[in-house]
């Protein structure tokens, strides 16, 4: 399926869970396609949101973020998101990591809630009346926090390989929490992959299959589909790209110009041409320098 067709599954107002760990593993080809589709009023969930949420925020596509943190790690705060929250245009519904994972875990197993001891004593629960409430352990009387089930409309993931049927494989295990929980909690799952392979090739390495085909609605081939973020172990984050972004991202006109220039590419091939062979070689050869 093309990225355009896959993103066609998403409507204005949807809750979209996006794989993201700071500068790691964001399905940016799908994020750019979401921007190209002009979707509005989206609620986004990520474990550590980064440049993907920042670009969506600058484009006015986001009304709410539901999650624990928004940061590009060594490249600092996401300025578009930050400006949106400070202006009251974007709501940051903030949870601890176990809090958001409890909500998604309940969604995945069709339970009303899961509990956590996280956030007790912090100022967060008081802001989360609709989704986090103190309850008593019926066995011991201990006070714990019930975190209401969360079932986003759709999730966007990126993987190493997939077949046309939708079997999804990761090399090196599922390091990121998003990969393990989103396909079970979300109504639909869209996965971009570095390469589409045959089902026979998938059967050679069944131990690398981490999402079964029946849970996947769309598979999109996108080589370097996480660029400019990293995708372990294939490529590291593009340092120069992030630095260019940090350089323009406090200035609305310059930020939008950089986003639009990269979203103008209609296909992944066009995008990779824009990024250039040298930049792609640099992010791919990281193991030699590590």
């Amino acid at each position: 399926m093309s990225a355009t067709e896959a993103i066609g599954l998403i409507r204005d107002g949807d809750h979209v869970a996006i794989q993201s760990m700071g500068t790691q593993g964001i399905p940016m080809t799908l994020v750019r396609e979401l921007i190209r589709a002009g979707r509005r009023d989206l609620t986004i969930t990520s474990v550590v949101a980064g440049i993907g949420l920042d670009w969506l925020s600058w484009k006015g596509a986001v009304s709410r973020f539901v999650g624990p943190i928004v940061s590009m790690e060594r490249f600092g705060l996401c300025q578009g998101f930050r400006a949106g929250v400070q202006a009251g245009q974007i709501v940051f519904e903030e949870y601890s990591e176990t809090g958001i994972l409890a909500r998604l875990g309940a969604g995945a197993r069709n339970l009303p809630f899961q509990i956590t001891r996280g956030m007790i004593g912090t100022d967060l629960p008081a802001l989360l009346e609709d989704t986090v409430r103190e309850i008593e352990d019926p066995f011991t009387g201990e006070r714990v926090l019930a975190c209401r089930a969360l079932r986003p409309d759709v999730c966007l993931l990126h993987a190493h390989r997939g077949d046309a049927k939708g079997n999804i494989q990761y090399e090196g295990g599922t390091i990121w929490p998003d990969v393990q929980i989103y396909p079970k909690a979300c109504a639909r799952t869209i996965v971009s992959v570095e390469e589409i392979v045959s089902e026979d090739e998938v059967r050679e390495r069944p131990f690398e299959t981490v999402i079964p085909h029946f849970a996947v609605d769309a598979v999109v081939e996108a080589r370097y589909g996480c660029h400019p973020t990293s995708f372990f172990p294939r490529y590291v984050y593009d340092e120069a790209f992030h630095e260019r972004w940090v350089g323009v991202s406090r200035d609305p006109a310059a930020a939008l110009a950089m986003i639009d220039a990269h979203c103008a590419a209609a296909t992944q091939a066009e995008y990779l041409e824009l990024i250039g062979a040298d930049a792609l070689a640099a992010v791919s050869n990281w193991q030699e320098q590590a």
Binding site: I69, L77, E94, T98, M119, G121, G172, S230
Partner: protein
Amino acid sequence: MSATSDYTVDELMVATLARQFDDGDQACNGAASFLPVCAFQLARATHAPNLVWLAGAVGLDARPRRVPASTLEAPLWHRSSMYMPQYEDFWSYVLNGRWLTKFCVRGAQIDRFGNVNNSVIGADFHRPKVRMPGSAGLADMGSIGKRLIFWTTTHNPRTLVEKVDFVTCAGYLSGGDARARLGLEGGPEVLVSNLAVMDFEPQTKAMRLVSVHPGVSVEEVAEATGFELLLPAGEVPVTAAPSAEQVRLIREEIDPGSARLREFA
């Protein structure tokens, strides 16, 4: 090992943080945690060879050739013996209680009772003056019985405040037995700053000076602190200087690229 005078404050802080970790401990690091990452490796190279380290909360007992520019990304996980899946494995081992009992915490604001803010500056959460990154695992670590070890490279009245604008990570809350009344175990134990070492007085749970770094006066520390810091009885000791061997390990073996100085930019 004898103390040396050839060291800088980053190296003093790394050596002081390293002393907080024992041979039987397990440690993990989060984002932009250059000083803890150096400290864990220094402890492993000296007094705590069996200290377990989960690099970037992913790489078990990693052996990076140097400290890279990011403390979350793959170059830090070099030569790990396991990549820890975060959803099931990492959080289960953390929450279990048997392991990873100490956690290093840095925050934009830390107050006199060890509460930490990494969420918002300003009174209105939904229209903040400054929206900061958010809690990540901090809002868990303060509530699940961990022993919290704070560090900051900006010991000034903007970081060390009387009362945080927002409690992202639960410290001793309003002090005294406020934390215990909620049934929370563990809590803040020590703060290693660029000027001094502090702890928390056992009754009031208010922050207390333990030692000043060589060349720093008690008055300077008091002035740089946004609340009245408790003082120890008698003369205030001077923080132990690192040994020549510790300094060599940091400079030559652990962090030859001086990534730790990113925390002082």
